[in-house]
């Protein structure tokens, strides 16, 4: 079950610099890009959370990474 976009885990992971060493490579690279975009444009946080959640909807193999957020 992928958490809803209102779950604080999404904001937490995209507005921090937390290490995701245990995550798959795709998750690390995507989160890094989204963090950079949110930092440059904080108003874009909502769409970026939606993009990250959408990634997990499509990639069940990566779902375990959400526990790291």
């Amino acid at each position: 079950m992928i958490p809803d976009t209102t779950n604080p885990c999404w904001r937490r992971v995209l507005t921090s610099e937390s290490d995701l060493s245990g995550a798959v490579l795709a998750t690390k690279l995507l989160v890094t890009r989204l963090r950079r975009e949110v930092k440059a444009r904080p108003g874009a946080l909502g769409p970026k959370i939606a993009e990250l959640r959408d990634y997990f909807e499509k990639n069940t193999f990566a779902a375990k990474d959400i526990a790291l957020f």
């Binding site: 937390s18 290490d19 995701l20 060493s21 245990g22 995550a23 798959v24 490579l25 795709a26 998750t27 690390k28 690279l29 995507l30 989160v31 890094t32 890009r33 963090r35 950079r36 930092k39 440059a40 990634y55 499509k58 990639n59 193999f61």
Partner: protein, 332 residues
């Protein structure tokens, strides 16, 4: 997957048997292959099971046995961002891009923003030529389905995996940032930089590197949420912009890496798994700086390339693609 160095005749026999292949070799060797379900890229540097070597006659062939279907597609220019469209549902894509092409630059700078690029494994490399031939030959990619070669565009093999198989990509980077080194960032994204922000202060980057005596065999390294991502130095000349083999990215914090120990020993120690059954490539700079000729990197074999791709362009990194049973992947 099965990996092997083989003759043109042996590779041709696999193609004629209907196998799905990714092939690396010289332009002369690749040009002799028949049409079929394969893509190819030029390279004459290889890591083989008997050691690194230059080979202009034979081909490095990876057979994707788990493929249920496959479709080579050339994305020639403006359609490059659409390479993430029309993929197979349970699949992966192998991508080959000629070095120094417009596609190389476009993918390097914008690839990680392509819609859905992280939704399926995308692995491959930047094709090259012998370093003695840089002035006379162009890196190429081959569309095996049409029997054509190109020096521009991205050649992609979209692969449909059998239902019970899944693919995953990982990287092995010997370089770690030197945490005592200065923090370096850039005001723009690109393959060159005249200036950099060093600990927040703008400097002429070439002068800074010279004054610091930086060993430019060591790349700049950034921490991408736990993945160490390199940008390698291409040239550093006084008064000129510093050039790189991959773009530095605006807003990313880099440090110069520490020199690793003996490259071959480090790869052997750190490359876990059965490399002979994975699609992998390593960087030409690791081959050169690590003096890998005649040395092995454990069981991992493949071309030594002008850039590696694991969703995005990488430098001085080994990239590996593994296909395994979905059940095993779920347990891992």
């Amino acid at each position: 997957m099965k990996n092997a160095m083989m003759s043109v005749a042996e590779a041709a026999a696999l193609i004629e048997a209907g196998k799905v292949l990714v092939v690396a070799g010289s332009e002369a060797a690749l040009s002799q292959l028949p049409k079929g379900c394969w893509i190819g890229g030029t390279s004459v540097y290889f890591m083989t099971d008997t050691g690194g070597r230059v080979d202009r006659d034979n081909l490095f062939v990876t057979e994707i046995e788990a493929a249920e279907d496959a479709r080579p597609v050339l994305y020639a220019g403006e359609d490059l961002p659409s390479l993430t469209m029309n993929r197979f549902d349970n699949g992966l894509s192998v991508i080959l891009i000629p070095a120094f092409s417009n596609a190389h630059e476009e993918f390097a700078i914008h690839g990680s923003s392509y819609s859905g690029v992280f939704d399926q494994p995308l692995m491959g490399w930047v094709t090259g030529v012998h370093l003695d031939d840089l002035e006379s030959a162009k890196p190429k990619v081959f569309d095996g389905a049409r029997g054509m070669a190109f020096d521009e565009g991205a050649m992609v093999l979209h692969v449909k995996l059998r239902a019970e198989r899944v693919a995953d990509i990982d990287i092995l980077n010997l370089f770690e940032p030197d945490q005592t080194a200065d923090e370096i960032s850039f005001a723009g994204t690109g393959f060159t930089a005249q200036t950099a922000l060093v600990n927040g202060e703008e400097v002429d980057f070439a002068s800074y590197l010279a004054e610091k005596g930086v060993d430019t065999r060591c790349p700049l390294v950034a921490n991408f949420a736990g993945a160490m991502i390199n940008v390698s130095f291409q040239s550093v000349e006084p008064g000129k912009p510093v050039s790189f083999y991959a773009p530095v990215i605006e807003g990313v914090s880099y440090r110069v890496a520490q020199l690793p120990g003996d490259y071959a020993s480090e790869f052997v120690a750190r490359a876990q798994g059965e490399g002979s059954r994975e699609l992998s490539c390593n960087c030409i700079l690791n081959y050169l700086y690590g003096e890998l000729e005649s040395k092995t990197t454990g069981s991992f074999t493949g071309p030594a390339t002008f850039g590696e791709i694991a969703y995005m362009l990488l430098n001085q990194t080994m990239v590996r693609l593994n296909i395994q049973a979905a059940e095993a992947a779920a347990v891992a």
